[in-house]
C-alpha cells in the first residue's frame, strides 16, 4: 500500500496511463518511464547541491550585511520542498491536473494548463502549507482541488490581452505574475500620452541564456559579499582564502544546481505533459491551452528587454531600501525579472503603450522583491532556515487565498483541517 503512494510510483502511473490512452508502443512507454524517474532524481541531486550552496551564501550574506537574505528562485525552493514532501507534491499535482481537465470539459473555462513546471512549483508550496492539518488525505484532496481550480481560472485574467496580441484565443499564457502586473497596469492608467516604439528593430546582442544571466548576477553578488567579510571568516566556512575563487566557485555551484534542477524538471514534466495533453485531447473536444508566457515574446522583443531592465531596476532599488530599513533583504531574482517582468511589460504595453510597459514592469519588480518577505513566514515552519522562496508574485496570493478558504471550510464543516 505504501509503495503505491510513493511519489515515484505515482508519476510513473500517470505517465504510463497517459501513454497507454494514446496507444503508444511498449518500448516508448518503457523509455518514458525511465526518463521520468531519471528526471525525478536529477531534481533531488540538484536540490541537494542547492541546499549546500545556499547555506554558505546565507552565512556570508548575514555576516556582510547583518541582515537575513532571501534569494527567491522557484526551481530551488520547489525542489528542496520535494526532498521532504515528495508524496504530497505529486499527489496534489495529479489531483490538480484531473480537476483542470474536468473543469475544461464541463465549464466555459476551457484552458488546459500546460505549464506543468509551474504546476509543480504551486503544488510544492501547497504541500508545505497544508502540512499542519489533521486528516492527511483529506487536506491533500482539498489542496489538489484548490490548485486545479486556480490553474483553470488563472489564464483567463490575461487571455483578453493575449488574444489581442496573437489574434486568437486558442492559446493563452499560464502566467504567475498577474497580481503585480495588474497593479502596475492600474497605476499606469494615469499615463495620458500613448507612445509606441518600434518592435521591428531587432537587438542582436542580448543572448537569452538563463544560466549565464544567473551566474553573472550571483557572481556580482558574491564579489560584493566576499569583499565585505574578512578572509579568516571566509576560510573558516569555505576552506579557501582567495575571495575571487570563492566567488567563482559558489556562483558556479549555484548555477549548476539550478541547471540540474531545470534539467530534471524538464525531463520529468516533459513526460508528464505529453501524457497530460494526450488525455486532455481525448476527453475535451474543443480545448484551448495555456502555455509558457515566452511564446508572446517574439512579437515584442524590445518591450521584453525594457521590461527586464526596468523590473530588475525595481528589484535593485527595493534591495537597497530593505537594507536601509533593516528588513529581510530580497536578492533580485534575475530570471523572474526577465520572464515575468518581460511579460508584465508586454501586458502593460498592450494597455498603455511605452508608459504602461515601464510603469507596469517597475511595479512588478518592486512587488516581487517584497512579496517573498510576506510569504516566508507562511513557509518557514516547514522548511526551516533555507533562505530561498518562490519568486513569482502570485504565489503569495495563492497561499493567502488558501489560508482564508481553509479557515472558512473549517468553520463551516466544524472539522479540524
Amino acid at each position: 500500500m505504501e509503495l503505491i503512494l510513493k511519489a515515484e510510483f505515482l508519476v510513473v502511473i500517470f505517465v504510463v496511463t497517459g501513454l497507454f490512452i494514446q496507444q503508444k508502443r511498449l518500448d516508448d512507454i518503457v523509455s518514458s518511464t525511465i526518463k521520468v524517474l531519471m528526471g525525478y532524481y536529477i531534481i533531488v541531486y540538484g536540490s541537494n547541491l542547492a541546499v549546500n550552496t545556499l547555506g554558505i551564501i546565507s552565512l556570508i550574506f548575514r555576516r556582510a550585511f547583518h541582515a537575513f537574505d532571501i534569494i527567491p528562485n522557484n526551481e530551488t525552493i520547489a525542489s528542496i520542498i520535494q526532498l521532504n514532501y515528495s508524496q504530497s507534491v505529486i499527489l496534489i499535482m495529479i489531483i490538480a491536473m484531473i480537476v483542470n481537465i474536468t473543469i475544461a470539459r464541463t465549464t466555459k473555462y476551457k484552458y488546459v494548463f500546460l505549464s506543468i513546471y509551474y504546476l509543480l512549483y504551486i503544488s510544492a508550496m501547497m504541500a508545505v502549507i497544508t502540512n499542519d492539518s489533521g486528516n492527511y488525505y483529506l487536506s491533500i484532496l482539498v489542496a489538489g482541488i484548490f490548485v486545479g481550480i486556480i490553474i483553470s481560472i488563472l489564464p483567463h485574467f490575461t487571455s483578453g490581452y493575449v488574444s489581442k496580441i496573437l489574434g486568437n484565443d486558442n492559446v493563452t499564457i499560464g502566467f504567475l505574475g498577474n497580481s503585480a502586473t495588474f497593479l502596475g497596469i492600474f497605476m499606469s492608467n494615469i499615463i495620458r500620452t500613448k507612445k509606441e516604439i518600434n518592435n521591428k528593430v531587432k537587438n542582436k546582442f542580448f543572448v537569452r541564456d538563463s544560466n549565464i544571466i544567473l551566474f553573472l548576477s550571483m557572481f556580482l553578488l558574491f564579489i560584493i559579499l566576499t569583499s565585505m567579510v574578512d578572509k579568516d571568516f571566509l576560510y573558516d566556512f569555505t576552506s579557501e582564502r582567495n575571495r575571487i575563487y570563492v566567488a567563482i566557485k559558489y556562483s558556479i555551484n549555484f548555477t549548476v544546481s539550478f541547471y540540474l534542477i531545470v534539467l530534471g524538471v524538464r525531463m520529468m514534466t516533459g513526460e508528464i505533459v505529453n501524457s497530460y495533453k494526450g488525455i486532455a485531447e481525448k476527453i475535451i473536444p474543443n480545448s484551448k491551452i495555456a502555455v509558457d508566457p515566452a511564446v508572446i515574446f517574439s512579437h515584442m522583443p524590445n518591450i521584453v528587454l525594457i521590461g527586464f531592465l526596468v523590473s530588475l531596476l525595481g528589484g535593485i532599488i527595493s534591495f537597497f531600501i530593505q537594507l536601509k530599513l533593516k528588513m529581510n533583504v530580497v536578492v533580485p531574482a534575475v530570471i523572474t525579472h526577465f520572464f515575468s517582468g518581460g511579460t508584465a511589460a508586454i501586458l502593460g504595453y498592450n494597455k498603455n503603450k511605452i508608459g504602461g510597459a515601464i510603469i507596469t514592469s517597475f511595479i512588478h519588480g518592486a512587488v516581487i522583491s517584497f512579496f517573498p518577505i510576506l510569504l516566508m513566514p507562511l513557509l518557514k515552519p516547514h522548511i526551516g532556515l533555507i533562505s530561498t522562496c518562490f519568486s513569482d508574485a502570485d504565489f503569495l496570493l495563492i497561499a493567502l487565498l488558501f489560508s482564508i478558504i481553509k479557515k472558512l471550510i473549517s468553520i463551516v464543516l466544524g472539522v479540524i483541517m
Partner: protein, 91 residues
Amino acid sequence: MIRAVVLCSLGLGSSYIIETNLKNILNQYKLDAQVIRTDITSAECYDADFYVCSEDINFRPTKQITLIQLEDLLDFEELHEKVKKFVLEKV
C-alpha cells in the same frame, strides 16, 4: 533517422510548442525522427541534423549547424515551410 534539437531559454516552456508542432510535421512526412528539447546553454552539446529555436533568443551557435529560426513560435505554417525546405534538401 533524423535528429532535431529544439531549444529555448530554459528548455521548459516555449520549446514545448515547437516540439509538438515539429513532431506533428515530421509525422506528416513519415520520417523516423528523434526530437530533443534542451536549453540554449547545452544545445550544441547535442549533435543533430537541424536545430530549431525562436528568433528572439539570439542563439549564436559556435559551430556550423543548420539552424531554423522562427519569428512566431505559434505559427505552424512557418515551421512547416522551413522544415519542408530542409527535408527536401536532405532527403
